[in-house]
């Protein structure tokens, strides 16, 4: 069966994910060592140790994301967290920084290494480079490849591949984006923060609600409609007298119907985005996807089920997998 890799922002969400049928759960520490460094989210070392023990009891794995890029002068924290993850019994760490990969391979050789989507490895040469150099066992592929391209990549590499199938959609190459940093000073790469709530402001102006990030107006919505969270890549801008979503319409990824094709393309694991989501959300999405991968495994038709209302109130899309971009 394809492995279902599910998000957990809290110990409660982790338990919920495991109970709902997650094969693996990924999470991070409560600091800037991971790319979902949000207030009130993530794990202390004690919480992680307990969570790993609980997950192992039920046959599930725990993958720890250490997928930001340490700033020069700040590497000690990341090194400490690698040791903490290994001590807690984590089944793998998810890394992006070359220096940290090298450090982990040298100092924690028995701790399995996955390559984070933050490393932006979108071609067989880059993947083979990471796999051969740092003995990376699995690569999380950027959300920019078609199913056909994923199949081609799998023919040329030895590492396992993991792909996103549900949740928020980064439209820029991850690990190569400073948009948040430009508007707010908080960097996805260095701080694990994208468009932090502390820099977001909403203001009623006439019949509209203006959503601002770092003082820049990102969206305007009629007052009676739900306002999208202001991130630059999903913002509304004017160019050449046209106003619209220049980068991406606010849609969420839902690639459930592509699971059979992804299996055929040689994909090992399916990843659900959303460590910032509630326990109830995680449980429902995981249940739905577990049923889907079981159906695919047993050759049954995909069970129908409505996840649309969970998709940020937005339309679902098969994203780049279906190749409408090029």
């Amino acid at each position: 069966m394809m492995e279902l890799v599910c998000p957990a922002g809290t110990p409660a969400a982790l338990r919920a994910a495991v109970e709902a049928g997650a094969h693996s759960v990924y999470c991070g520490f409560s600091d800037e060592t991971n790319a979902r460094n949000f207030p009130g989210l993530n794990f202390s070392t004690e919480e992680l140790t307990e969570a790993v023990a609980g997950a192992h009891k039920r046959g599930a794995k725990v993958l720890v994301a250490l997928n930001t890029f340490p700033r020069a002068g700040g590497e000690k924290l990341w090194h400490q967290r690698l040791a903490d993850a290994e001590a807690a019994g984590a089944d793998a760490v998810i890394l992006a920084d070359v220096g940290l990969l090298d450090y982990a391979a040298t100092h924690h050789p028995r701790l399995r290494r996955h390559l984070s989507v933050q490393a932006a490895a979108a071609n067989p040469d880059a993947i083979n480079f990471y796999a051969e150099t740092f003995d990376v066992k699995r690569v999380v592929l950027p959300r920019v490849l078609t199913v056909q391209e994923i199949a081609e990549i799998n023919k040329e590499i030895d590492a396992e591949t993991e792909v996103f199938v549900f949740g928020g959609l980064c439209v820029m190459a991850e690990g190569r984006c400073s948009l948040s940093s430009y508007a707010t000073g908080k960097s996805p790469n260095m701080n694990g923060v994208c468009s932090p709530a502390s820099h977001v402001a909403y203001a009623e102006e006439g019949n509209e609600l203006a959503a601002r990030l770092g003082g820049f107006t990102i969206n305007r919505t009629p007052k009676d409609r739900p306002a999208p969270y202001p991130t630059l890549c999903k913002g509304c801008f004017t160019s050449e007298n046209q106003t619209g979503h220049v980068f991406e319409d606010p849609v969420s990824l839902d690639a459930r119907h592509l699971i059979p094709a992804l299996a055929k393309a040689g994909v090992t694991a399916l990843k659900i985005e959303g460590r910032q989501r509630s326990r109830a959300y995680v449980a429902e999405v995981v249940r739905t996807f577990r049923a889907a991968v079981e159906a695919v495994e047993e050759g049954r038709p995909m069970p129908e089920g409505a996840l649309a209302r969970l998709a940020e109130g937005q339309a679902g899309t098969a994203g780049a997998y279906a190749k409408t971009w090029r």
């Binding site: 002068g73 920084d97 070359v98 040469d125 820029m172 430009y182 000073g185 107006t217 305007r220």
Partner: protein, 308 residues
Amino acid sequence: MAVDKMTKLTLGPLAYHWSSDRRRDFYARIADEAPLDEVYLGEVICSKRAPFQEADLPAIIERLERAGKTVILSSLAEVMLKRERKATADLAELDTPEIEINNAAGLFDRSSRPHRIGPFMNAYNEATIGWMAGKGATHVTLPTELPGEAMAIAASAARGLGLGVEVQVFGRASLAVSARCYHARAHGRTKDNCLFVCEDDADGMPLCTTDDRPILRVNGIQTQSETYINLLPETGRLIADGLTHLRLMPQSVDMVEVASVFRSVLDGARDPLEAETALREACGEVRFSNGFYHGQAGYRRIANVVPV
């Protein structure tokens, strides 16, 4: 500021799709008149543009080298398609240390032979730089968003390993790259059918917020800052901290004048404040920023001359 003859002034690779004529004329003037030490060439943003560049690349290289400038060839930032892998591999095959790698595919192809590490490679820290040096890197360009304090530590590590270390001090910052072409999208086209609409925007396609506030520039698959980074006031600090190379990015302004302004500050011939006035004149209305260097929002301009 003391006279500095050691620090090299470089011109980064042209990010935009300028016409052949414009590009030829630009580099001819750069070769003959700009007080630059090193010039990076090659298509970094879009593999579809590369054939246009390649036709007159040999003549441009020859002209620059004849003028005493070191030429470095830069590789593509985003590598997904077969032609992009091939372009990266072909560059890595070249028998010169002066190639700049911008995608991990290039490290695979280059296999420990000498090379430079480009700004897209995320060299944020000492361990990464140390590892890169062990694999043949002779030079590293730091990420544009790295704050000054971290830059100093990174530069010191790089220097200790005998590496050149560079940072962008002028021009629009590269903020993001994508698999998707937003230039084509804005014109209702796909990437495969773009008809090179990016050629119309020599300094990027401006984006404004719905309040008409300029914020970003689109350049094919790349998103850039509206502001030009300007670290002229910080130049002295950068050199004291061990940066060996300062990079100017080509914009649609008089780049010979821009290079001359930076050179005059390096030479101690002009103080940074006076030079700043000249730079302002050369750049017209565009806003300057140095927020990244000061650990703040990148678009900000922190108004002070950093003491050396």
